[in-house]
C-alpha cells in the first residue's frame, strides 16, 4: 500500500466505512439537492428551448419582424414597408387564437400570403394534394402535433369560433413543421374575412438584402410605422416570450438551491461530528508528522468524494424527477406559462457538469470548515481529549454574523438586476448565513434563560446544553435553515392567498360574467350582441370590456389594455388601488395602471403619458395604480367610452352583468340560452366559480413550491437526527460513566430527550424568527421585483403553531430513537478503555 493510500486510510477510510448510515444520509441530501435543482433547470430549459424552436419555425428565415397590438395594425403599412430598398421579401401574416368548437382551448391560426411566405417561412406552407387549397377560404393546414391532438387527418373538418358563430374549416393537408407546437395555417384573406380582421395585419416578416445592416433598416422602418407598431428581430420576440416565465423559473431554481444548501448543512453537521469522533486518531497521525494543510486536504477530499457520489446520484434522480414532472405538471411545472408545450428533455452536458460541480463544491465547503477547525486544534489538547472530554469555551457573537445581517438588511433596499430580484435572494442568503454564524451565541443566550429543573436528568441535560452551545448549534443548523425557509414560505403564501382573496372579492362585483368564447381571441361580442344582452330580462346593468394589447415602453413586452364601461363609483369599488386616485383633465383622460406597469415605466398618479392606440398616439393622465394578480406583465384600464372614441373599435370581449333583485345566475343563463341561440359559444360563469378557479390555479402554482419545501424540511429533520445520533454515539463513555454512577437507562434516555427537545425548541424559535424576516423579504422584495405583486402581510398562526408542535414532537421522537439506539450498548463496553 502506498504512503498516500495508507495516510488516506488512516485519516478517512476507516471513518467512512465505519459510518455508513451517516455517510449515506449526507450523500442522499446532496443527491436530493442536485436532483431538485437539475430537474427544475432541465424542465425549464427544455420547455424554453421547445418554445424558442417553435417560434423559430413560425418566424422562418425572417431577418426582422413588424408586430402590432392584439387586434393588429392597418395593412397599408405593408406597402410602405415592402417598398424599402433593403427589403427583399415582406410576408404579411394575421394571427388568430381561434377557439375550437366543443373545446375550452384555442388553435392558433396563421393567415399567410403563400407566395411570399414560401420565401420566408416555408414551414408554414402546407403540403397540399390540391395546390389551390393554399388560397381557398374555408381550408386549413394543421401541424402534425395539432392533427394528433385533434385526432384529425386531411379531409376532416374542424369547427372554430368567429364572433359568436361557428366556422367550419376543411383540413386540406398537413404542415411540414416537426416540432410539438399545435397550429394551423390558412390563406391571409380567408382569415381576415372569417375573423373580422378586414384590413388588419398582425405582423410582417421581412427578409433583407444580403449584407443590409439590420439595425439601420430597423431604425428606418421604425420611422414610418404608426404608433404602437414595432420592428425587431425574431430572436428578440422569442426572448420576450421565454422571458415571460423567467422570474418563475429563477424562483424555482432558488428553491432548489435551498434544498442543496440545507443538504450542505447536513454534510457539515455530519462531517464535524465525524471529525470530532476520530479526533484522537487524527491527532495521532498529526503527531506522526502529517502537516495541518495535508490533514485539511485529506478531510476535504473526503467531502469532495461524498459530493461527487451525491451529485452523480442526483443527476440520475433529477432526470427521473424531470420526466415525471413534465408528464404530471407540464413544461412550466404547473405555472401556466407554456400551455400546450410538452418538452422533450434534452440534457446539456455543461449544465449537468455544473450541477456536479455545485454538489462537489458545497460538500467541499461543508467539509472544509470542520477540517480547518480540527487542524487548528492544539495537538496536545487533541491527544488528551479522549480522557477529558471536550473543552468548553465562552461563545461570543462573531463579527461575521453582524456583518452578514447588516449587509442583508442593506441588500433589501437594492433594485432588481435585469428584472430579477437578485439582491432579494442575496439578502435572504446573508440573513441566513448571519443567523447560522450567530447560532452558538443564540443558543448560549437562549439556554442561559432556561431555568435548571430539579429533576436530575433534566438538570443534567440543561447544564450540558448550556456548556456546549457550539455543539447544540451544529445540531441545529440544518433545522434552523429548513424551518426558517418553511416559515417564510408559509407566511408569504398565506399573505399572497389572503390578498388574492380580497382582490377577487373586489374585482368581481357583478352577479354573472359572460365571455365571448371560453378560449382564444376569435370570439367577440358585436354591437348587436351587446345590445341584445343588455336588453335581456333580469339584467339590471351590464358593463362590457374590450381587451387589447399595447406597448408601454419601447422594446418591452406588450401589456393588456382593458377598455371598460365604468360607472362613477366603479373605480373605487372594483379596483384595489395602491396609489391614487387622481383627477384627470378632459384632454388627457384617466388611465389606471397596474403595479407591474408602474414598476416598469415609473409612472405615478398625476403623470401625463402617451399611449399608442388604434394607430394613433394619445395623451392620458395616470389616475391611479392598481393591484392586479391576473396579469403579471402588466395591465392598463381606460374607460371604454374613451377607447371607442379613439379607436372606433366597438366590439367587446366580455360582460359583467348585475342582475335585478330576485334574479339568479341560473335564471339568467336559461334566459340567455332561450333568447340568444349563439350563447352556446359564450362562457357564462359566476364570481364564486371564478374565485374557486383562481384559487385552484394559485394552489397548483405553489404545489411545486410546497413539495420542494417539504423536501427541505425532511433534510433538516434528517440533519437534526444525524447530528443528535452522532453526538449521542460520541458520548457513549459519558453515558457509561453515568450508568456506573447509578443512572437508569430510562433516566439517561429522558436526559437525551430533554436535551433534544430543549435544543430543538431553541432552533425552532430561531427558525421562526428568521423565517419571519425572510417572509418580509419574500413579500416586499422578491415577489415585488419578480412578479410586481404587492400583498398585505397575513400570518397563518394556526398553521405555524401546528408545524411548530409537529416539528418539536418529531425532534423529541428523534432524540428518543437516537437515545434508545445509543443505550443498546452496555455500560461496560462504553467505558472499556478503563475496564
Amino acid at each position: 500500500m502506498s504512503a498516500g493510500a495508507l495516510l488516506w486510510r488512516a485519516v478517512s477510510g476507516g471513518a467512512l466505512a465505519g459510518q455508513r448510515g451517516r455517510v449515506a444520509l449526507a450523500v442522499g441530501a446532496i443527491a436530493l439537492g442536485v436532483a431538485l435543482g437539475f430537474a427544475v433547470t432541465l424542465v425549464n430549459a427544455s420547455a424554453a428551448d421547445e418554445l424558442a424552436a417553435a417560434l423559430r419555425t413560425v418566424a422562418g428565415t425572417a431577418d426582422l419582424q413588424i408586430r402590432g397590438p392584439r387586434n393588429g395594425f392597418d395593412e397599408n403599412v405593408y406597402g410602405r414597408v415592402a417598398r424599402d430598398p433593403d427589403v427583399v421579401t415582406a410576408s404579411p401574416i394575421v394571427e388568430v387564437e381561434a377557439r375550437l368548437e366543443g373545446h375550452d382551448e384555442a388553435l392558433r391560426i396563421y393567415g399567410i400570403d403563400a407566395f411570399r411566405a414560401a420565401a420566408v417561412t416555408p414551414a408554414l406552407i402546407g403540403i397540399a394534394p390540391e395546390p389551390l387549397d393554399l388560397l381557398r377560404p374555408g381550408r386549413v393546414f394543421v401541424s402534425p402535433a395539432a392533427a394528433r391532438a385533434l385526432a384529425v387527418a386531411p379531409g376532416a373538418t374542424i369547427e372554430v369560433q368567429s364572433g359568436l358563430a361557428a366556422l367550419p374549416l376543411l383540413v386540406a393537408g398537413l404542415l411540414p413543421a416537426a416540432d410539438a407546437q399545435r397550429f394551423g395555417v390558412m390563406d391571409i384573406a380567408a382569415v381576415q374575412d372569417a375573423f373580422a380582421r378586414h384590413g388588419r395585419l398582425s405582423r410582417i416578416d421581412l427578409r433583407l438584402r444580403p449584407g443590409a445592416p439590420h439595425a439601420s433598416v430597423a431604425a428606418r422602418l421604425r420611422a414610418i410605422l404608426p404608433p404602437g407598431v414595432t420592428v425587431a428581430t425574431p430572436a428578440a420576440h422569442a426572448d420576450d416570450t421565454v422571458r415571460l416565465s423567467r422570474a418563475y423559473r429563477v424562483n424555482l431554481d432558488a428553491l432548489a438551491l435551498v434544498a442543496l444548501f440545507t443538504g450542505a448543512l447536513l454534510v457539515y453537521a455530519t462531517q464535524r461530528l465525524a471529525v470530532a469522533r476520530r479526533r484522537a486518531s487524527l491527532a495521532l497521525v498529526r503527531a506522526l508528522g502529517l502537516t495541518r494543510r495535508a490533514l485539511v486536504g485529506y478531510l476535504v477530499a473526503e467531502g469532495a468524494l461524498l459530493g461527487l457520489v451525491g451529485a452523480a446520484f442526483g443527476l440520475v434522480a433529477g432526470y427521473g424527477m424531470a420526466t415525471i414532472a413534465v408528464h404530471a405538471l407540464g413544461g412550466d411545472l404547473g405555472a401556466g406559462y407554456f400551455r400546450g408545450v410538452t418538452p422533450t428533455l434534452v440534457v446539456e452536458v455543461p449544465v449537468a457538469l455544473a450541477f456536479v460541480l455545485l454538489g462537489v463544491a458545497v460538500s467541499v465547503l461543508a467539509s472544509y470548515l470542520p477540517a480547518r477547525e480540527e487542524a487548528r486544534t492544539s495537538l496536545a489538547a487533541a491527544l488528551k481529549a479522549g480522557g477529558r472530554g471536550s473543552v468548553v469555551h465562552a461563545q461570543r457573537l462573531p463579527h461575521v454574523a453582524w456583518i452578514c445581517v447588516a449587509a442583508g438588511v442593506l441588500a433589501t433596499a437594492l433594485p432588481p438586476v435585469d428584472d430579477l430580484p437578485l439582491a432579494g435572494f442575496l439578502a435572504m442568503a446573508l440573513l441566513l448565513t448571519g443567523t447560522l454564524a450567530a447560532l452558538p451565541w443564540i443558543a448560549k443566550t437562549a439556554l442561559a434563560a432556561v431555568a435548571v429543573p430539579r429533576n436530575v436528568p433534566a438538570a443534567l441535560a440543561v447544564t450540558r446544553l448550556r456548556a456546549t452551545p457550539a455543539e447544540a448549534a451544529t445540531s441545529l443548523a440544518a433545522i434552523v435553515a429548513a424551518v426558517a425557509l418553511m416559515v417564510a414560505m408559509a407566511i408569504m403564501v398565506a399573505s399572497f392567498r389572503t390578498s388574492l382573496t380580497v382582490w377577487l372579492d373586489a374585482v368581481l362585483p357583478a352577479d354573472v360574467y359572460l365571455r365571448a368564447g371560453a378560449a382564444g381571441d376569435s370570439g367577440y361580442l358585436s354591437v348587436d350582441a351587446q345590445r341584445r344582452i343588455a336588453a335581456l330580462p333580469g339584467v339590471a346593468r351590464v358593463a362590457f370590456t374590450r381587451w387589447q394589447s399595447v406597448e408601454v415602453a419601447p422594446g418591452s413586452p406588450r401589456v393588456t389594455l382593458l377598455a371598460r364601461d365604468l360607472a362613477d363609483d366603479d373605480v373605487a369599488r372594483t379596483l384595489v388601488l395602491v396609489a391614487g386616485p387622481r383627477p384627470a383633465a378632459a384632454e388627457a383622460p384617466a388611465l389606471w395602471v397596474s403595479e407591474a406597469v408602474a414598476d416598469r415605466t415609473g409612472w405615478q398618479p398625476g403623470d401625463t403619458v402617451d399611449l399608442a392606440l388604434g394607430g394613433g398616439s394619445y395623451r392620458f393622465t395616470v389616475a391611479g395604480i392598481f393591484r392586479d394578480y391576473a396579469r403579471q406583465h402588466g395591465a392598463l384600464i381606460v374607460e371604454r367610452r374613451v377607447y371607442r372614441r379613439l379607436t372606433g373599435d366597438d366590439v367587446a370581449n366580455e360582460a359583467a352583468i348585475s342582475l335585478a333583485p330576485g334574479d339568479s345566475a341560473g335564471t339568467f343563463a336559461a334566459t340567455l340560452a332561450q333568447r340568444m341561440p349563439e350563447a352556446t359559444r359564450m362562457a357564462v360563469t359566476t364570481p364564486a366559480a371564478l374565485r374557486a378557479l383562481s384559487l385552484r390555479i394559485f394552489d397548483r402554482t405553489f404545489a411545486v413550491t410546497h413539495a420542494l419545501l417539504a423536501v427541505a424540511i425532511a433534510i433538516g429533520l434528517a440533519g437534526l437526527s444525524s447530528a443528535l445520533a452522532a453526538s449521542i454515539v460520541s458520548r457513549r463513555r459519558e453515558f457509561g460513566a453515568l450508568r456506573h454512577l447509578g443512572m437508569t437507562r430510562r433516566q439517561i434516555a429522558a436526559m437525551l430527550v430533554v436535551e433534544g427537545t430543549v435544543s430543538s425548541a431553541v432552533g425552532l424559535v430561531t427558525g421562526f424568527a428568521l423565517g419571519g424576516a425572510l417572509a418580509l423579504i419574500l413579500i416586499h422584495v422578491v415577489n415585488r421585483q419578480s412578479f410586481h405583486w404587492s400583498m398585505d402581510l397575513a400570518i397563518p398562526y394556526a398553521l405555524l403553531a401546528t408545524l411548530a408542535a409537529a416539528l418539536l414532537a418529531a425532534a423529541a421522537a428523534t432524540s428518543l430513537a437516537s437515545a434508545r439506539q445509543a443505550l443498546r450498548h452496555d455500560a461496560v463496553s462504553a467505558v472499556k478503555d478503563d475496564w
Partner: protein, 228 residues
C-alpha cells in the same frame, strides 16, 4: 461484604472466551483488597460482576448481603447508585459540569436536598485537597486533580463499596503515589470496602491484601495473599 461463589462467566465471542471459571472470593467489610493479574485474566469481568454491570453464567455474587444475580437491570442500577462508588483510570469527569457539580452528581441522583449536598461536597473537596477548585471546569484541572475529583465523587454518597480500576494508570509515579494514599485514606475515613484493580505490584502493596487472578489456559484461579 462482598462474596463471589463459584462464579463462571463466558463471552459468546467471536471468538468465544471463558473469562472466569468457578472463581470464589470473599472480602470483609472495611477491607482494601487489590486484584492483580495479567491482561485477559478476568479482572475487569470480576469488577463488572461486583458492580452489577454484568451477570455471571453460573454462581452467585452478593454485595452487602444482596444477591445481585436475582435483581433486574433497574434494581441493580438502584443498588449501584446507593452502595457503590467508582474510580476510573480515565477519570470520566463530565466536561460540562464544574468540579463541585461532578462531585454532587451521586447525591443528586439519590435525591439529597441542596443544603446537605453542598455541605457534603464541600467536605469531600476539602478531604481530597480541592477545596478551592469547586467552581473550576474539568479542562482547567491537571490529571491528578481530575482523579481527586473522581475519588471525591466515588465517596460523596458514602457507598459501602468502592471499585477502583487502575486509578493511577494515567498518572506519573509521584502523583500516582499521592492518589493511592488519598484513596486509601478516604476509603478508610468513610468506612468503605475497596476493590482495587491494578497491574502495579507497588500499588497492590498498599492494599490490606492482594488477590491474583492467574490464567491457566482458559481458567483463572484466585489466590489470596497473606493479609498485611
Amino acid at each position: 461484604m462482598i462474596r463471589l461463589d463459584r462464579v463462571t462467566r463466558r463471552y459468546a465471542g467471536p471468538p468465544p472466551r471463558l473469562a472466569l471459571a468457578q472463581v470464589s472470593l470473599a472480602v470483609a467489610e472495611g477491607e482494601f483488597v487489590a486484584i492483580v493479574g495479567e491482561s485477559g485474566t478476568g479482572k475487569s469481568t470480576l469488577l463488572n460482576l461486583v458492580a452489577g454491570l454484568d451477570l455471571p453464567d453460573s454462581g452467585s455474587v452478593s454485595v452487602e448481603g444482596t444477591e445481585l444475580t436475582t435483581l433486574d437491570d433497574d434494581a441493580r442500577t438502584l443498588f449501584r447508585r446507593a452502595h457503590i462508588g467508582f474510580v476510573f483510570q480515565a477519570f470520566h469527569v463530565l466536561a460540562h459540569l464544574t468540579v463541585a457539580q461532578n462531585v454532587a452528581l451521586p447525591l443528586a441522583l439519590l435525591g439529597h436536598d441542596a443544603g446537605a449536598t453542598r455541605a457534603r461536597v464541600t467536605a469531600m473537596l476539602a478531604a481530597v485537597g480541592l477545596d478551592d477548585r469547586g467552581a473550576s471546569m474539568p479542562h482547567e484541572l491537571s490529571g491528578g486533580e481530575l482523579q481527586r475529583t473522581a475519588i471525591a465523587r466515588a465517596l460523596v454518597h458514602r457507598p459501602a463499596v468502592v471499585l477502583a480500576d487502575e486509578p493511577t494508570g494515567n498518572l506519573d509515579p509521584v502523583n500516582a503515589d499521592r492518589i493511592l494514599a488519598l484513596l486509601r485514606e478516604c476509603v478508610r475515613a468513610e468506612g468503605a470496602t475497596c476493590l482495587l484493580v491494578t497491574h502495579s505490584h507497588h500499588a497492590a502493596a498498599r492494599a490490606d491484601r492482594s488477590v491474583t487472578l492467574t490464567g491457566t489456559g482458559l481458567r483463572a484461579v484466585a489466590v489470596a495473599s497473606a493479609p498485611r
